[in-house]
Amino acid sequence: MNNSVTLALPSKGAIAEPTTAFLRDCGLRVDKPNPRQYTGALPAVPNMAVLFQRVTDIVYKVADDTAQFGITGLDVVHEYPHENVLIVHDDLGYGECRLLVAVPEAWLDVTSMSDLADVALDFRELYHRNLRVATTFPFMARKFMHQHGIHHFTIVNAEGAIEAAPTIGYADVIVDLVATGTTLRENHLKPLTDGIILESQACLIGSRDALVNNADVREAARILLEHMDASLQGKMYSQVTINMRAADQLDIARRLVSNPLTAGLQGPTIAPIYGSHEGTSDQWFTVTLILANKALLKGVDLLRTLGATDVIVTPVRYLFMDHAPTYKRLCDTLATGVTALPRQAFYR
């Protein structure tokens, strides 16, 4: 590849398809010539090549600078920490799951990590062996167990179908990723109340060395983050168009701005509807507002009480603020030389 910047994306697994969909929504369409090819392109970012890898390999590729950026799960980034791997965006809004400790449902006496610590001692005293923990996340599992006073345990490294381990008998408990909990229930396992190790989702990672030393890489980061931030912000808002009758624009503005639910991002845009005031002292106006989705219905109800009619709501595809907040944070991080990976920050 002759391109100067490479973005590694998941080739398979739970976040592979959602990642290309997410990038498409951000205006960053991925061109992949055919499904079996491991390279592609991202036309929206000049000179950017795409490399399709397994989620764990993405971390390695960014760590050794083969790829300057990667999208993978926070879980694997924390499991394989590397000083050159910088979490550039930790809230891409998809691929959400939890890394947690689960025990057999039949262990009626175990609901918390302190119960599990007690049971681990039972294993030592009764069976003269350690509690066995099946997981593909030995680093985080080990650390979490020690944090909760469980020192007598053995990690059983496993690949796939971990939920079956306590039934098959090669482990007593598991540490695994859980999205909905259905698989856990079907395998007669239950999560512990304080057993959540990590709240994970998809994240964008970058090579610290490349970001510090290569202006092309920083510019690529800016373009990626401008698109991502604008798209993610846009998803939080709707454009609302209404018609209102009033004596003048100022009267409408006063009514709307007085309540945060109807004030909009900066304030309303008000335009007169010509020919609508014949025979009356009042006139019709069209008002455009940007409202937060989380309070959209409340806002619409309030607009109705203020005299709004014909409420039209349109999704906001992109919302570019005066700057991309994540890119600014990245620049601050690079300038201050903060440690690459705030490993503790995500542990509960």
């Binding site: 262990w107 006496d109 119960d115």
Partner: protein
């Protein structure tokens, strides 16, 4: 040894904190607290220092741990139904049980009820430990404070142990004013069974810690307790500002049957000069052995050396080697 190693690496030792896990266990045993609850307290002991209401916090955690479905007042009928369903289905083929049996689960549920009955004794013990948690200072001051706390007969052996260790540390070159006695010295691991210690350097780094843990071997599968001591160096902290280079090493036995203090002095001198020294009180079978006389002189290959002639002894060892 832990503190000497720091000094040899160019990290002058400022403070050695001394504690005693046996003291904690004696307080716990004085109120007939069972061993499992003792472990629970030991694993939460640091809370007594960190939180102003540490006793309440630990009791809350204890309540959460011993709470059983039967003791939960507002258990919904759906939850009860679920419990019964699980119990009935446990006999089904392929049901996940990990490595436990139904009897294990039932026994532990009963034990939790029994442990819950110890709550009042636990509170009394925690109140005593909370007082101890805020005591730290030179040994005479600590001894004076301890005598004013109920149950003082519990800590006479700890006071004796600390006095012995402080005397030996002085021989190693760490004067009494560097030693801070901290009865509740919370180490992360609950298996300590005797003296515990932590080493801090002049720039405030916590560089080493350890103690005695006779029960550790049993915890990892041995049929009985085995006397054991050990310590950890925290390498990140230890290597911060480290300047000294490791010397050329030579294994050496110093055999001091008559006087341990003399043996320590010789061992220290030799270690400072790069030797790896094993100190023993009886005859050794090492390749190179230096025997220490009751008058503090050392004998090597029938030649006698005073402490001031350490370099001559080393020259003789090097020639012989």
């Amino acid at each position: 040894m832990a503190a000497s190693g720091c000094a040899l690496l160019g990290q002058p030792v400022a403070t050695i904190n001394l504690g005693d896990a046996q003291l904690l266990r004696a307080v716990l045993a004085s109120r007939d607290i069972d061993t499992r609850t003792q472990r629970f307290v030991l694993s939460h002991i640091s809370v007594l220092k960190e939180l102003p209401r540490g006793v309440d916090y630990i009791l809350d955690r204890f309540d959460a741990q011993v709470a059983t479905p039967a003791s939960t007042p507002a258990l919904e009928s759906a939850a009860i139904e679920q419990e019964f369903r699980v119990i009935l289905e446990t006999n089904e083929r392929g049901r996940a049980m990990g490595g436990r049996t139904q009897a294990d689960v039932a026994r532990r549920l009963v034990q939790r009820q029994q442990r819950a009955a110890q709550r009042e004794q636990l509170r009394e013990v925690l109140e005593i430990l909370a007082q101890l948690a805020h005591i730290r200072g030179r040994l005479p001051e600590v001894a004076q404070v301890l005598t004013g706390i109920a149950g003082s007969e519990l800590w006479s052996s700890a006071l004796t142990n600390w006095a012995d260790v402080i005397r030996l540390l002085d021989v190693y070159g760490f004067s009494e004013d560097k030693v801070v006695v901290t009865p509740i010295l919370a180490r992360d691991w609950e298996y300590y069974s005797g003296l515990t210690f932590e080493v801090y350097t002049e720039d405030g780094h916590h560089v080493a810690g350890g103690g005695r843990y006779d029960e550790f071997a049993r915890l990892i599968g041995a049929p009985r307790d085995i006397p054991a001591v050990g310590f950890t160096y925290y390498l990140d902290a230890l290597l911060t500002g480290q300047t000294a280079q490791p010397a050329d090493t030579l294994f050496l036995d110093v055999c001091a049957p008559a006087n341990k203090e003399h043996g320590i002095r010789w061992a220290q001198l030799l270690r400072e000069r790069g030797f790896l020294v094993r100190l023993a009180e009886s005859a050794c079978d090492g390749l190179i052995t230096v025997v220490i006389n009751p008058d503090a002189s050392a004998v090597f290959l029938d030649n006698r050396y005073e402490l001031s002639q350490c370099d001559d002894l080393i020259a003789a060892i090097t020639r012989w080697r």
